[in-house]
């Protein structure tokens, strides 16, 4: 990995130094990845600045130099594994109740229960939510499954995480 990166002008945020997700290329290895970053024109505006070549134009043959600070690398398909790990870790010591308020939803869920399609409104909500996530956010569920497997396979890590 080098300390010099490349990105396209079209990817840049409107506001400088705001935290954003950006696709960048490692200038040396040509590896392309997404990261949470901050961008600035002046290196002094960032804590850990590294040169960033911003390419533009119809054939991307015009460029200008800016600076980038890498905060977190993100999985290429947009799943932030570190965030998932933090949430999974926090979940070990907090309540697992999910709350929401909606008269309409409650009526529909009770209908499903009283027509004997589900045993309880909680069960209906669990199954419907997981079914939706499996169909529409399978990447998120798969990433979470990996995190859970990692946690369950590492009791020492869990113990240490609990001490923190």
């Amino acid at each position: 990995m080098s300390n010099h990166y490349i990105t396209a002008a079209e990817h840049l945020p409107d506001e400088e130094t705001t935290e954003t997700t950006l696709q960048i290329t490692d200038a040396e290895t040509k590896r392309i990845f997404e990261a949470r970053v901050r961008i600035a024109r002046e290196p002094d505006d960032l804590t850990d600045p590294r040169p960033l070549r911003v390419v533009t134009g119809p054939h991307e043959n015009v460029s200008e130099e800016r600076y980038v600070e890498l905060i977190d690398e993100i999985d290429s398909l947009g799943i932030d594994d570190d965030l998932l790990r933090r949430l999974a870790s926090e979940q070990e010591t907090t309540s697992n109740i999910v709350n929401t308020r909606s008269d309409d939803l409650k009526v529909v869920l009770r209908y499903l229960v009283e027509s004997e399609q589900y045993d309880s409104t909680a069960e209906a909500l669990r199954k419907i939510a997981f079914q939706y996530l499996a169909e529409n956010r399978s990447d998120l569920l798969e990433a979470y499954e990996d995190v859970r497997t990692e946690f369950e396979a590492d009791p020492l890590r869990r113990a240490l995480a609990g001490d923190e």
Partner: protein
């Protein structure tokens, strides 16, 4: 000898001193492509880079292995198909068309006997960047694989559909594919798999045997299999083997196979890339994502690549040679099979893909328009702008003969025809449309359409009748006898020749 693997093909080149092995350390970052560019321009030997910097697996890069000599681009492929005595382009076309008339179904072999399965990496073991993919041109969006066969599902044949779509490597498990709507495999993804929210399984085959690489460049009729035409080309079935992670089959002797899924509703940047027009082409576009599930390979795989852009002008590279030596004979056969009196259909060698020259008889008025209409409506027309029709006795492989036909036979008023004005698709790689005209269509092709055209460079003079021909032949025989040849072998001499019937 017919070669059954890419490695045998390289050996064939080496045995004839047409391959140079470079053992010095070479960088994948522009250096391998720079050396290959010089070889392409200067008609040098095909370079194989045995020692590439920062390679996790011991792979070699091969620069434009299918490039043929500038004077006879088809020569190396003719040798690999066991046609070493074929010298002229016309003879090569006739021999290949003849082979393609007899397709041979492929043969499925066991995994244990498949060379491409000698190393198998699945799941977490997959590391796409362990292979020394070249960074080919300054300004490319990333490292590329661009000389390969993409195997995709085809409901009409169990062997799948084979085609070539450049692939930009992102990280250890992801790449983006240039899928231009209008082409067969991209259409299957955009209009069948993605609307069903279903990933499309594909395999990217790198370093396939020459017959496979050639059939990948061909336009095979719907319902037929490139695998069978590859078998016809070498007069022997191609060996296929099942993939590790899908129901697809891949050529068993390949150097390297990447198995994966093209994910629905996911996009990554693709490009810029210096493609076959000879110019950098950008900007980057959002293209479908290949998620890699498995990599299988031979020990020390040979990874071929093409320096696109060096096959214009007098230079040759793999893609320009494959157009001349594979796409041309295939198109010739296709037009003949459709009932047209075409003798040769040949891509113009200096700007491959954009212009084709077709030598044909013209049996009735309106025939050329009918022929043009057939081609424009049935071929993959993203790449081709126009055709030049010449008489059947003009050699389309001879640029001087073609330009002479255009200059002498084409009336600027009557013989330049436009077709489908502003309604025909055009690949966004072209440099005559502005970015605004190309647009940023969701499915990857040009938003703005363009026209197609053809030039009628066939002769408009009435064909000489038999009596004129005979008088000319008789006169020629008299001259030859006057010059001292024996009159016995001539059949049209008058009384003074003493031998006429």
């Amino acid at each position: 000898m017919v070669t059954d693997s890419f490695r045998e093909y390289l050996q064939l080149l080496e045995d004839a001193d047409d391959l140079v092995s470079i053992s010095e350390l070479v960088s994948w970052d522009l250096e391998a492509s720079a050396v290959t560019t010089l070889a392409n321009r200067n008609d040098g030997e095909v370079p194989i880079f045995e020692s590439v910097e920062e390679t996790a697996i011991d792979a070699a890069l091969v620069g434009d292995p299918y490039r043929g000599p500038q004077c006879r681009p088809w020569e190396f492929l003719a040798r690999s198909f066991g046609l070493p005595d074929v010298r002229s382009g016309t003879a090569y076309y006739e021999a290949v068309v003849d082979r393609l008339r007899s397709p041979r179904e492929p043969r499925v072999v066991d995994r244990d006997s498949a060379a491409c399965k000698e190393a198998v990496h699945v799941g977490a073991e997959v590391d796409l960047l362990s292979i020394p993919w070249p960074y080919i041109h300054q300004g490319d969006g990333g490292r590329y694989s661009n000389l390969h066969t993409v195997v995709a599902p085809d409901p009409e044949t169990q062997w799948g559909h084979w085609s070539n779509h450049r692939m930009m490597l992102h990280d250890d498990a992801l790449a983006s594919l240039l899928f231009l709507a209008g082409e067969q495999v991209p259409n299957r993804y955009y209009y069948e798999y993605e609307p069903r929210d279903e990933p499309m399984p594909v395999a990217v085959v790198i370093g396939a045997e020459p017959a496979v690489q050639c059939s990948t460049e061909m336009w095979i009729p719907t319902g037929r299999s490139e695998a069978a035409f590859a078998g016809g080309l070498k007069e022997d079935p191609v060996d296929l083997v099942p993939c590790e992670t899908s129901d697809l089959f891949v050529p068993a002797t390949a150097e390297l196979v990447i198995e994966g899924r093209v994910l629905p509703n996911e996009r990554l940047d693709e490009g810029p890339f210096g493609d076959y027009f000879g110019y950098m082409n950008g900007p980057r576009r959002s293209m479908p994502v290949l998620a890699v599930d498995a990599i299988t390979h031979r020990p020390e795989p040979r990874v071929p690549f093409c320096v696109e852009g060096t096959g214009v002008g007098y230079g040759q590279n793999s893609s320009s040679t494959l157009q001349t030596a594979a796409a041309g004979p295939d198109a010739t056969l296709g037009l003949q099979a459709a009932g047209f009196d075409v003798s040769l259909a040949v891509p113009w060698r200096f700007t491959s893909r954009t212009v084709w020259v077709i030598a044909t008889d013209r049996p009735y008025p309106g025939y050329l328009h009918e022929l043009a209409n057939f081609i424009f409506t049935t071929w993959g027309m993203l790449h081709i702008d126009f055709f030049v029709f010449v008489d059947a006795d003009v050699d389309p492989l001879n640029p001087r003969a073609v330009l002479t036909a255009i200059a002498l036979e084409s009336d600027p008023d009557a013989d330049f025809h436009q077709f489908g004005v502003e309604r025909m698709p055009k690949v966004p790689l072209n440099i005559y449309q502005t970015p605004d005209e190309k647009g940023s269509a969701d499915v990857g092709t040009s938003k703005a359409k363009t026209a197609k055209a053809y030039i009628d460079a066939t002769t408009d003079r009435p064909t000489a009748n038999g009596s004129e021909d005979e008088a000319l032949r008789a006169r020629a025989q008299e001259v030859l006898v006057d010059a001292g040849l024996s009159p016995e072998s001539f059949d049209l001499l008058g009384d003074e020749g003493g031998e006429s019937e």
